[in-house]
């Protein structure tokens, strides 16, 4: 007993959580110990069970599926033993467990419908085979009750639109399966019963009558069901739309509104411009669905240089006009090239004094060319201090290591241009 209770804890986990709130009503007439272990051992009927909660209570106690217990009662009930057992269990389980059932009644519906149908079919079969313990005077009323039970459950489930929808969703396809199985069993049972009562020739017309009845039911309930299903899908669509709007609002709030607030607060025009520029870029990439933050694996030439240019722009507040043409596979060499180009952009931003920097990237047949151009003060290329690490290491050195080359042209007073070439045939990545 105790062992089983420990075993039950895993499946009972969720219920233990809800048990944290003292179940007020269950305490009335229950003076047992507060020890949770103790309460586990006690057999209690479950509140919200199908009939009296006996099956659900037993199922919870012994950690099995409620439907199995119900099925067992049904099968045994047909021999009469089950009915006695059920009554005995009901008497024994006087206390009511108010903890919420994990498999609550409405969500259980497909199972219950299936159970009702299965019972009906089973009874018909047994009756046909002459195995039923119930006399005829009992048999038909019980049959009607069982069948009615299934139908009522079905309708209840229809009233609960979402559950209806969920009954047809993949995760509860077993529910649908159960119903289908039940229907088959009933059909077989009915035919078996009819086959005994009437001749085979009449069977055809019976089948016809059955089809008519089913057709009539479909006509009566079809529109209703379809309206309900429609409602469900409409509701879902509206929810999606509302979610989208919420997303949009959240994005605009986080980005545009915040930036506007920052711009209002800043006194530095260059900072305001840089904020505006960054926001523009971000909003643009969002609107035109270029992923704003990309995973490394699907970086393309465009986004690689975009992020480099954006970074420099943010740090140095000089707008960079970037144009990328063509497409090459981005490997380590190309990333190194982008880093060198970034350094060239930084230099132009810091030293040229130009109001804008143009960057043109062209990738074709594995070869990548980059031009970084400014119309700033320019400098004498022969007079570059050999100690200028930026040019020597970051640009020329990097390019040399990946088998590319860097050319810098500049005339004092007329800006500068850095040309970087990464040929298609290049050394293995450093």
């Amino acid at each position: 007993m105790t062992l089983c209770c420990f075993g039950c804890r895993a499946c009972d986990h969720k219920e233990d959580m809800s048990n944290a709130l003292p179940p007020v009503s269950s305490l009335s007439g229950f003076s047992g110990s507060a020890d949770p272990q103790e309460s586990q051992i006690r057999l209690r009927r479950a509140q919200g069970g199908l009939l009296t909660g006996v099956s659900a209570g037993l199922a919870r106690r012994f950690c099995v599926d409620t439907s199995l217990v119900r099925l067992a009662f049904v099968v045994l009930g047909l021999t009469g033993v089950g009915l006695l057992a059920y009554v005995a269990a009901f008497v024994r389980m006087r206390e009511v467990d108010t903890r919420e059932l994990a498999d609550n009644w409405p969500t259980e519906t497909p199972k219950v419908v299936g159970l009702g149908l299965f019972t009906t079919g089973l009874m018909l079969l047994l009756h046909r085979l002459g195995l039923s313990v119930l006399s005829d005077s009992f048999f038909w009323p019980v049959l009607v009750v069982a069948a009615g039970f299934g139908v009522v459950s079905w309708q209840l489930s229809l009233e609960r639109q979402q559950r209806l929808a969920s009954a047809f969703q993949p995760d509860s396809r077993y529910g649908a399966l159960r119903i289908a199985a039940g229907v088959v069993v009933v059909a077989v049972g009915i035919f078996a019963a009819l086959a005994g009562e009437v001749s085979f020739s009449a069977l055809g017309s019976s089948a016809f009558a059955l089809v008519l009845i089913l057709g009539g039911l479909a006509v009566v309930f079809g529109p209703w069901a379809s309206i309900l299903l429609n409602d469900v899908s409409n509701e879902r669509r509206q929810r999606v739309r509302a979610d989208e709007r919420a997303d949009l609002a959240a994005h605009l709030h986080d980005s545009v509104l915040q930036t506007l607030a920052l711009i209002q607060r800043t006194d530095d025009p260059s900072e305001a411009a840089s904020l505006a520029r960054r926001q523009e870029r971000e909003l643009r990439s969002w609107l035109y669905s270029r992923p704003e933050s990309f995973v490394h694996s699907d970086v393309d030439l465009q986004s690689l240089f975009e992020s480099a240019a954006a970074d420099v722009e943010d740090r140095h507040s000089v707008p960079i006009e970037l144009v990328v043409v063509g497409e090459v596979e981005v490997d380590d060499s190309v990333i190194t090239l982008a880093k060198a180009a970034r350094e060239a952009m930084v230099n132009a931003s810091k030293f040229s004094g130009a109001p804008q920097i143009s960057v043109f990237v062209e990738g074709e047949a594995g070869q990548v060319e980059v031009w970084v151009r400014d119309r700033g003060v320019g400098f004498d290329t022969d007079a570059i201090d050999p100690d200028r690490r930026g040019i020597r290491d970051s640009v020329r050195g990097r390019l040399a290591r990946i088998g590319g080359e860097a050319t810098i042209t500049s005339t004092p007073g007329d800006g500068a241009e850095v040309y970087l070439l990464l040929p298609a045939q290049r050394k293995a990545s450093p």
Binding site: E280, R284, Y288, S289, R290, D300, Q302, P319, E321, V323, V324, V325, G326, E327, Q356, S358, F360, E362, E364, A365, W371, R373, E417
Partner: protein, 213 residues
């Protein structure tokens, strides 16, 4: 400036219109403004300006529709697209409709005035980005087109486009290639014509796909 081109500004935001107007100063003479397609067509046909500054996105449609409708009326007014969008299908779409150039709203007032004058004189105006799109659209590694002459750029045109994409002004392109500015303008115009007339690659489809890259 001795000669002031007569300009109509079409943009659905009044703030943008007045901003553009003030940044142009007295480099141009603004003869009309419009905020939507119908209004724009009426104003343009009424005032017959030298150049129309046209926003790509208008309420109830695109700038391209304005161009189509005005040209359908027999007018040969020149259009310069001015937009905040630099998405490829917007750019290509409006240029295909007949715009003589495309600049983004981040352009400086002086550059814009210069671009307007250039368009008024019959030239094409390429922003670096538009030049980039052209290079992309006419990439060499595509299968041979049907109309070879129209659907390919000459080497010289390609060179000009690359320099424009690198941010060179026309006169800088001319100096670099050691040709006259007039020749550069001729190349640019013929590229624009190819862009507008070419069937190659189903350009607009290409542009839309490109956007998603």
């Amino acid at each position: 400036m001795s000669w002031q081109p007569r300009v109509v500004i079409v943009d659905d935001h009044e703030l943008v219109r007045s901003g553009v107007k003030s940044s142009l100063g007295d480099a141009v003479h603004v003869v009309g403004e419009a905020g939507d397609i119908g209004e724009a067509v009426a104003v343009i046909l009424d005032t017959n300006p030298d150049v129309v500054l046209l926003d790509v996105h208008l309420p109830s449609g695109t700038g391209g529709e304005v161009i189509t409708q005005v040209h359908a009326e027999g007018s040969d007014v020149k259009f310069l697209a001015l937009s905040v969008s630099d998405a490829a299908d917007d750019v290509i779409g409006v240029v295909r409709a007949g715009a003589r150039g495309y600049v983004t709203k981040t352009i400086s007032g002086d550059d814009l005035a210069d671009a307007i004058r250039r368009v008024a004189e019959g030239d094409a105006v390429f922003s670096p980005r538009l030049a980039g799109f052209v290079l992309d659209a006419f990439a060499t590694n595509e299968p041979a087109p049907v109309d070879v002459e129209l659907d390919q750029l000459t080497n010289r045109e390609r060179e000009v486009m690359r320099l424009l994409a690198r941010g060179y002004a026309y006169k800088e392109v001319a100096a670099k290639l050691e040709i006259s500015v007039k020749t550069v303008e001729t190349h640019a115009s013929s590229v624009l014509r190819k862009l507008q007339l070419s069937n190659r690659h189903q350009l607009t489809t290409w542009a839309t796909k490109r956007k998603l890259v």
